[in-house]
C-alpha cells in the first residue's frame, strides 16, 4: 500500500481523503474482501439480522434509560405527576421508572421501545434458531456456531429477565419471588444462594442494584462478544443456501454484499427500527403504573413473566402439588430429609423441562452426526420435508415448549375461552406428555406425504385440472410438465439410508454401535427415495403414468 502511494494522485477531494484513510488503515482491502462476500437471498435468512438490529436498538434506548433510572431500593414517597400514586411509599427505583414514564420527555416512548425491542430480540433469535434447526444448518462445520447461538438465546433470556425486574413494580417483584422460590428449592445450597443473591432474606435492599449491574454491564458485554464471534463464524463458514440448480456445497449463489446487500441490510435496520418505534408509540407495554410499587403481600391476577420466560413459569403451573387419591394414598412431592425440606414440586418443573430442552438443543448436532456417521461439510440446506425424522423431532420439541408456554397463560385461556381453569390445566398436563409424541408422528407423516407429492410432481408434472377426452373415449387429466429448473429442486436432495451396525477396528460390533444402528433405523427407516434419473427417463419415454405407477416409492 505505502509503496503505491507516491505514484497515484487522486483527482478529487473525496478521493484524496479516501486515499489518505486507506494508506493508513488498509481499509480498501477489507472492503474489497467483504464487499464481494456473497449472501444468498431468502426471507427466512433474515431473522438473525432482525435480532442483531433489535439488539442495537436495545443498546441505544437502554443507554437513554440509564440517564434517568436510579436502581436504589431506598424508600421514598411519590410526589410526581401520576395522581393515583401520590404520597405512596415506594422504592427510588420504582419512583425513577415512574419519573421516566411521566416526566422525562420521550421517556415513556423510550421505555416502551426498549421493552418491545427486547420482546422482538428474543423472538427473532428463537425463529432464527428454528430456521437453522429445520433446515439442518447446524451440521458440520457450523456445530460450534449453533452452540454459540444457543448460549446467546439463554443470555437474551437472562438479559430480559434482569431488565423486567428493574422497575421494582408489583409484577416484577412477584416474578423475582418465584425465582427466589426456585432457588430456595435447590437442596442444601438453595437457601444460601438466595441469601447471597438478595443480600439477606427476600426482598432485601440489594437485589435491584445487583440486577442492574448484570443488566447493563455484564450480560450485554457477553452478548456483544458472542454476537461478534457468531458473525465471524458466519464469515468464515460462509452462508448456507437452499438447494437449487447450480448450488452445491462448494459455492454460494446470491448477491455480493456491496452494493446491493449492504443497502438492503442497512435499509432493513431502519425498517426494524421503524416498526418497533411505531409499536412503541402506539401500544402500551408493561404499564408499571397499573401494578403499583412492590409489596410482598399482594399478588395480582394475570401475573406472568415476559413471553420468553413463560414456558418455565408454565411448567411450574402444570406441576401438581400431590397426585392421586387411590384408597387414601396420595403421592406428595415434598420430603423432609435430615431436617432439610426437599421440594420436588418446585425443583422438578423449574429445572427438568428447561434442562431437557437445552440439553437436546446443545447436543443435537452431535447426536445426529453420530447416528448418520456423516462427517462431510454441508452448505446446502435440507428442505424440512426431506429430513422427516429431524423435522419431527424439532416439532416434538417445539410442541413440548408450546404446551408449557400455553400453561403460563392458563388463566387467560380460561377466562377468554370460557372454560374452566382446572380443565385447561388437566388438558395441558396430558399434552405435556402426549403432545410431543403426537407432534412427532403427525409431522413425520406430513413430511413423508409431501415427499411423495414432490415425487409425483417430478415424475408426472403438475396437475392442470383439465380433463380431456381422447378420440377412443378415454378421459385423461392433462399434466403440465415441469421446467428442468423447477424439477431440480424436487429430485436433487440427499436421502440417507439406514446405516447398519459397523464393526470397529477390531472387527467387533460393540453395544454402542448396535445402539447407533438401532437409532439409524428409527431415523431413516421410513424413507421416500428421490426420483432417480432412470425413473425420470422412464416417465418421459412413456409420457404416461401407468408405467411409473408400479415403480417403488420408498420401502
Amino acid at each position: 500500500m505505502s509503496n503505491a502511494a507516491p505514484t497515484y494522485q487522486p483527482p478529487t477531494k473525496v478521493g484524496r481523503i479516501a486515499d489518505f484513510v486507506d494508506q493508513r488503515t488498509g481499509l480498501s482491502a477489507v472492503t474489497r474482501e467483504f464487499g464481494r462476500k456473497v449472501f444468498p437471498d431468502h426471507w427466512s435468512f433474515m431473522f438473525g439480522e432482525v435480532a442483531l438490529y433489535s439488539f442495537v436498538i436495545l443498546l441505544l434506548s437502554g443507554t437513554f434509560l440509564t440517564f434517568f433510572f436510579d436502581p436504589s431500593m431506598a424508600e421514598t414517597h411519590y410526589n410526581g405527576a401520576f395522581v393515583p400514586m401520590r404520597g405512596m411509599e415506594m422504592s427510588v427505583a420504582y419512583q425513577s421508572s415512574l419519573h421516566i414514564s411521566f416526566e422525562v420527555r420521550g421517556g415513556l416512548f423510550m421505555r416502551q421501545l426498549h421493552h418491545w425491542a427486547a420482546l422482538l430480540f428474543v423472538a427473532s433469535m428463537s425463529v432464527h434458531m428454528l430456521r437453522v434447526f429445520f433446515t439442518g444448518a447446524f451440521r458440520k462445520p457450523r456445530e460450534i456456531n449453533w452452540v454459540i447461538g444457543g448460549v446467546l438465546l439463554i443470555m437474551g433470556m437472562a438479559e430480559g429477565f434482569t431488565g423486567y425486574s428493574l422497575p421494582d413494580d408489583l409484577l416484577s417483584g412477584n416474578g423475582l419471588r418465584i425465582i427466589d422460590g426456585v432457588i430456595k428449592s435447590i437442596p442444601v445450597i438453595g437457601t444460601w444462594i438466595s441469601f447471597f443473591l438478595f443480600g439477606g432474606e427476600f426482598p432485601g435492599s440489594a437485589i435491584i442494584g445487583r440486577l442492574y449491574v448484570l443488566h447493563i454491564l455484564l450480560i450485554p458485554a457477553l452478548i456483544l462478544g458472542l454476537v461478534a464471534l457468531h458473525l465471524i463464524f458466519v464469515v468464515v463458514h460462509k452462508h448456507t443456501q437452499y438447494p437449487g440448480p447450480g448450488r452445491n456445497d462448494r459455492n454460494v449463489v446470491g448477491y455480493p454484499l456491496g452494493p446491493v446487500y449492504a443497502a438492503k441490510a442497512g435499509g432493513f435496520f431502519f425498517i426494524v427500527f421503524g416498526v418497533l418505534a411505531a409499536i412503541a408509540a402506539m401500544f402500551t407495554i408493561n404499564p408499571i403504573w397499573n401494578y403499583g410499587p412492590y409489596d410482598p403481600s399482594p399478588v395480582s391476577a394475570g401475573t406472568q413473566p415476559d413471553w420468553y420466560i413463560g414456558w418455565v413459569d408454565g411448567a411450574l403451573r402444570l406441576m401438581p402439588g400431590v397426585i392421586g387419591d387411590v384408597e387414601g394414598y396420595r403421592q406428595h412431592f415434598e420430603f423432609l430429609i435430615f431436617g432439610q425440606t426437599l421440594t420436588l414440586n418446585v425443583l422438578l418443573p423449574a429445572l427438568v423441562p428447561a434442562g431437557i430442552v437445552f440439553t437436546v438443543l446443545f447436543t443435537y448436532p452431535w447426536i445426529e452426526r453420530w447416528i448418520t456417521k456423516d462427517n462431510r461439510e454441508h452448505h446446502v440446506l435440507d428442505r424440512p420435508r426431506n429430513a422427516p425424522t429431524r423435522t419431527a423431532i424439532g416439532m416434538a420439541g417445539f410442541t413440548f415448549y408450546c404446551v408449557m408456554w400455553a400453561a403460563a397463560a392458563s388463566d387467560l385461556i380460561a377466562t377468554h375461552f370460557h372454560v374452566a381453569l382446572n380443565d385447561v390445566t388437566y388438558w395441558l398436563r396430558a399434552l405435556f406428555f402426549l403432545g410431543p409424541i403426537l407432534a412427532f408422528t403427525v409431522t413425520k407423516r406430513i413430511a413423508l406425504g409431501l415427499q411423495r407429492k414432490d415425487r409425483e410432481i417430478a415424475l408426472h408434472g403438475r396437475e392442470t385440472g383439465r380433463i380431456v377426452r381422447l378420440p377412443h373415449g378415454e378421459f385423461i387429466e392433462v399434466h403440465a410438465p415441469l421446467s428442468a429448473y423447477k424439477r431440480y429442486r424436487l429430485v436433487s436432495f440427499e436421502s440417507p439410508e439406514v446405516l447398519p451396525a459397523q464393526p470397529n477396528a477390531k472387527g467387533v460390533v460393540d453395544r454402542k454401535e448396535r445402539r447407533r444402528a438401532a437409532l439409524s433405523k428409527w431415523f431413516f427407516e421410513d424413507r421416500v427415495a428421490p426420483v432417480s434419473p432412470a425413473e425420470l427417463e422412464a416417465a418421459h419415454a412413456h409420457g404416461h403414468h401407468e408405467a411409473i405407477e408400479s415403480a417403488p416409492s420408498g420401502h
Binding site: M46, V83, F102, L170, G267, V272, I279, T284, P287, G310
Partner: protein, 261 residues
C-alpha cells in the same frame, strides 16, 4: 342516692342488676352489630314493597321460593338486603340465564323502578346491607389509598389493572371496566357470586369510597402509553409481538428478498 344505697341489700337487687346488665349488653351489642347492617328504612314505600312482591313471585320465586326462603336451585334471600338485589338485578346477573359456575353480566331484565321495588321487598325479609349512600359513590375519595386497598384486597382476583382474572372450575373475577360506582360498592358489601364479603368492619365505607375513586380514576385517565391490549400484562404483549410485530417484519423480509421477475 341514699335510697339507692339503703336498698342495695334488697333480695331483688341482684335481679335488678342482672336485668340492667343484660339490657346494657344487649343495647351495646345491637348498636355494635348493626354497624354493618343497614337501616332497612331507606325510603321504600309500602307500594314499593307490594309491587316488589308481585315481581318477585312472578320472576324469582321459582328458585328462591315464594317468601325468598330459598330452594334446592337457589339460595335463601333472607338478610341479603337491598344492596344485593340492586347489584344482582341491576347488572343483569339475576334473573339467571342458566345454572352454572357463575352468573354472567347481561343487559338488565328490569328497569330502575322495578329493581327498586324488588329491592324493597327483599329488604323486608330480613335486615341486610341497604343501598349505598350517594356520598360514598362520588369518586372524590383518596385514589392513592384506594389503589393500595385494591392491590391488597382485590387485585389477586380482579388483576391490578381491574381487567379480571380466572378462578377455579369455570368461575372468574370479572373485569371492572365500565362497572357503575354503586355496583362496585354493593359488590364489596354483599359479596356476590364467588366474591367474599368486605364488610364495613373489614374495609370501612371511606375505604370503599377510596377504592371506587381509584377505579374511576384509572378508568377515566385512559392508557398513557397507547393502546392497552386489554391490560392483560405480558401474555397479550408477547402475543402481540409474535403475531403483529413479527408478522410485519416477515412481510418486510419477503419484500426485501423478492426479485422482480
Amino acid at each position: 342516692m341514699k335510697a339507692l344505697s339503703q336498698k342495695r341489700r334488697h333480695p331483688l337487687a341482684v335481679i335488678a342488676l342482672l336485668v340492667m346488665g343484660l339490657l346494657l349488653t344487649g343495647v351495646l351489642y345491637s348498636v355494635a352489630s348493626t354497624a354493618n347492617q343497614a337501616k332497612a328504612d331507606t325510603g321504600f314505600s309500602a307500594t314499593d314493597v307490594s309491587e316488589g312482591q308481585k315481581l318477585f313471585v312472578a320472576n324469582c320465586a321459582t328458585c328462591h321460593g315464594m317468601n325468598g326462603q330459598g330452594s334446592a336451585s337457589g339460595p335463601s334471600l333472607v338478610g341479603v338486603g337491598a344492596a344485593a338485589v340492586d347489584f344482582q338485578v341491576g347488572t343483569g346477573r339475576m334473573p339467571m340465564q342458566m345454572q352454572g359456575p357463575q352468573a354472567y353480566r347481561k343487559p338488565p331484565q328490569f328497569n330502575a323502578d322495578q329493581t327498586r321495588q324488588l329491592a324493597a321487598f327483599v329488604a323486608t325479609l330480613g335486615a341486610g346491607p341497604s343501598l349505598p349512600d350517594e356520598a360514598m359513590l362520588d369518586g372524590k375519595g383518596d385514589a392513592t389509598h384506594g389503589g393500595e386497598l385494591f392491590r391488597v384486597n382485590c387485585a389477586m382476583c380482579h388483576n391490578a389493572a381491574a381487567a379480571g382474572g380466572a378462578l377455579t372450575r369455570g368461575k372468574f373475577a370479572p373485569s371492572l371496566a365500565g362497572v357503575e360506582a354503586k355496583h362496585i360498592y354493593e359488590a364489596m358489601e354483599t359479596g356476590p357470586q364467588n366474591m367474599p364479603v368486605f364488610s364495613d368492619a373489614n374495609i370501612s365505607p371511606e375505604g370503599k369510597r377510596d377504592i371506587v375513586t381509584f377505579l374511576k380514576t384509572i378508568e377515566s385517565q385512559g392508557s398513557p402509553g397507547g393502546a392497552d391490549l386489554g391490560s392483560l400484562g405480558p401474555v397479550s404483549e408477547g402475543l402481540f409481538m409474535w403475531v403483529a410485530g413479527l408478522g410485519v417484519i416477515i412481510a418486510f423480509t419477503i419484500w426485501l428478498t423478492s426479485r422482480t421477475s
